[in-house]
Symmetry: C3
Subunit: 352 residues, 3 copies
């Protein structure tokens, strides 16, 4: 099976490779491989908070016999600068151009979390910032949520949907939900791509003002074209939800007001009915409720939904573990000690 060189985007992998990864995830869940990554080290670089990712990445390495270290710039580590050509006389003590190659040298693989700017939509859509960070690493990089993707979540979600017995072309409704803050587009974009790659009938349900950026929809339609899937957007809730196998809730910022907190607040003033209630499922009684977590109860979704057997949010989170183990395994297992040592020995011209 092909070695995985990077894990920046799920959509960079051919569908067959994803299916293989899911099979590996299932095998690791059922029988394990406790020494597969003995001696291997995962470096975790978190520019933003984390609960699931922090814990599940460390657990994933441990279950494969490897170890991890965690670096939080601005927490117990120096604040890092990312801008090019900056005169660094402010609060940042170090530049990512040093920090990332340095950390990569201590590890066999780096996981990097760097959320969206939330202010520059074009930059966030292009994932320019994550690409710049990941490009600084001479070792493989796993995207732990960037401005516009969250491939570990997408892989775990795919696994969850498979386990639920949802048909390949089953209907997934991605619904916008209310939230006190303007949130990134990373998870909606990841769900869009995942559903398209899996071949699903995807309906994006949202208030008109929360239409997804056209480039995201176009990318998803392009992916769906190869898998028999389909994508449509609507603000008509009952029609959207009818026959859904999955209702995936997530809040995101409006493209029109991107970076304008005041305008966002105004826009959301009348939208608190966008909290998923049990009544939403009238015409989709067997539908499962999904969310990437963290989720705000009784804002994004009602207690009654989350606490019912309809909800599979904890299962999604648990599948992060097995999905990430598969990714790490495919990247590092069987890479010989010799090769590893070579990788760890940095040549003189290590600068980019």
């Amino acid at each position: 099976m092909k070695r995985l060189e990077q894990f920046w985007r799920l959509a960079d992998l051919p569908r067959e490779e994803i299916v293989d990864l899911l099979a590996l995830a299932a095998r690791l869940e059922s029988v394990g491989d406790p020494q597969a990554l003995a001696g291997k080290i995962l470096g975790l670089l978190f520019f933003n908070p984390s609960l699931r990712t922090l814990a599940s990445m460390q657990a994933a390495m441990a279950k494969l016999g490897g170890t991890s270290f965690v670096v939080t710039p601005g927490g117990s580590s120096w604040k890092l600068e990312t801008g090019d050509g900056v005169v660094m006389d402010g609060s940042a003590s170090e530049h990512v151009r040093e920090a990332i190659p340095v950390l990569a040298g201590y590890a066999d693989v780096l996981g990097v979390r760097a959320f969206a700017s939330g202010t520059d939509l074009a930059a966030d859509l292009s994932d320019a910032s994550f690409r710049a960070l990941a490009g600084l690493s001479p070792k493989p990089v796993i995207n732990l949520e960037s401005a516009i993707d969250h491939p570990c979540q997408a892989l775990a979600d795919w696994k969850t949907i498979d386990e639920l017995g949802v048909a390949r072309h089953g209907k997934l409704v991605l619904s916008w939900a209310n939230h006190p803050k303007a949130l990134p587009l990373a998870v909606p974009a990841a769900v869009l791509r995942m559903a398209a790659l899996r071949g699903m009938e995807l309906t994006v349900l949202r208030p008109e003002a929360y239409a997804l950026p056209e480039s995201l929809l176009a990318e998803a339609r392009n992916l769906a074209a190869g898998t028999g899937g389909s994508i449509r957007e609507t603000d008509e809730r009952p029609a959207a939800l009818e026959g859904a196998a999955i209702v995936y809730a997530k809040s995101w910022a409006s493209a029109a007001n991107y970076g304008d907190a005041e305008a966002e607040r105004t826009l959301r003033a009348g939208l608190d009915a966008w909290c998923v209630e049990e009544s939403w499922f009238e015409n989709a009684p067997g539908a499962r409720f999904m969310h990437c977590l963290p989720v705000r109860r009784n804002v994004v979704v009602a207690d009654a939904v989350l606490d019912s057997s309809r909800s599979v949010v904890v299962r999604q989170a648990h599948n992060r573990l097995w999905a990430q183990m598969a990714v790490l395994h495919r990247m590092l297992a069987g890479v010989s000690a010799g090769l590893r040592q070579e990788g760890a020995t940095i040549p003189m011209k290590e600068k980019r």
Copy 2:
């Protein structure tokens, strides 16, 4: 030997099981068991600061061949909500009803630290909050200090007292001490129960205003009835200390002013003589000084006492390591990989 299913309270265990745990702790200290928990993972969830517990729990897992991960809500992880039915439009991004089952799925055992509210005495005495948190975990939970108990500390203290050669019915004086803050009742309650279970003659020495809640004393008297121990309270220092084998100092909040910081300050104004001095030991020259740490020098206890051979506070802290290793061993050692996998695979109806 019986597998330990939970470690919420020491007093939930029969005395013989505690004695067995102490024997196991001694064996792990003298000969070790370095692969006993190979492949096992401890998740550590700290709602409050920690030094000893953070380090000793990780060291305990490492010495048994296992690994750990650490999650600090409000630190590098999301702030968590604990209230039922809350509309989560504030600063907490996630509810413990999701977070705890999620983290449990990445681990074989969870350690949880959640200090007392300090405002609602009845709730703190009932440990309602910890019970609610721990009840959310499908995996065993170790109490790393809750509102009203600290069983790891109690087990380590028992080990320490045994090592000092104190007779089963030896005299332990639990003395209130001054402190700039109103502190929880968790450690005094844990000492009370431990001394009662061990069968000791326990004297609680405190200013009248710091009388322990009657429910705690009643519980301890009940435990002591089965072991030949005894419990009394007094504010007469010389009589209390006479013949003590152990003087265990600890500050705690007054029940009457619970949650009223101003009233507490006033109450303590004249109590700075409640700092343990060498002179306290005039009629108990061989008594050892104990404290759970962290301890404020020259407020709770004078340098001269802490720096003398009378003090065993560092030894108590070191015994945390062996005591916790025994708890982890009794919970997880010999639990087969098959069983573990089964535990780690979350069934569809994972929600409570």
Copy 3:
């Protein structure tokens, strides 16, 4: 080979032992020793932020089969008091006189980072504070940067200079550089000692106001006397740089204004030309650029220098890993389990 008892100062070791450590570092880099420290635990105590040290110490233990735990006082652990005889009624909950022996009991070796006070030059020059902290540990201590030394950095730098093929008596220019803050003398002092011990021709290039304290220079001259090295100070840049094999940039506080932030600001007002530029290398075209990191781009050194093949700063950082592995190996490898157990079992009179 002799076991290393402590690693407080590189200059405490005879030159031959350092050369042996470097040979061991090279061996660990090329062939590894993945089980050498199986079962051993490193405790890391960080009073100050860290990126490289935090990650590389954990990676070093992992690559030798051991494990680590991290404690950050004032972060997720209690704030610690260091003063003698203090009445602890302020913000610190615990004294290092308890915390350090406690943590040492959970570990086989402690790493401690405690930066300079920046206010008391004499105390910082004597490293009184680090010596007091390290002296509290019954286990070996590794200095992870103290007020006046950074021996892990120095060892890594020596390895880097060797790998660059610099002659034993090659010329190293340690140049002061501009910086928004008054920084400690630890790294300049460490470079001074390292270059002297290696036998190099060392030129300290700095504005007159940044002359290094005479005691540091005297110590280095004394070391150089035994190795054929030499030390001089100057503020004449072109002459200083001519023929340099290495230009090592670092900012530091002026001795005259030590602790006076306002005076420092005034002093630096006209010194922004002390940013290393490519033009500095006119008469040393083959010279390599070194810095311990973190480095502020375009304040300490221009992008053009850092991004050229002249810069070896990332290589220096990577050599931290191998150097520290050698130190840990020399301290702990082959120390039998029996001995380790004995060390970990704290005798009754554990207090100092």
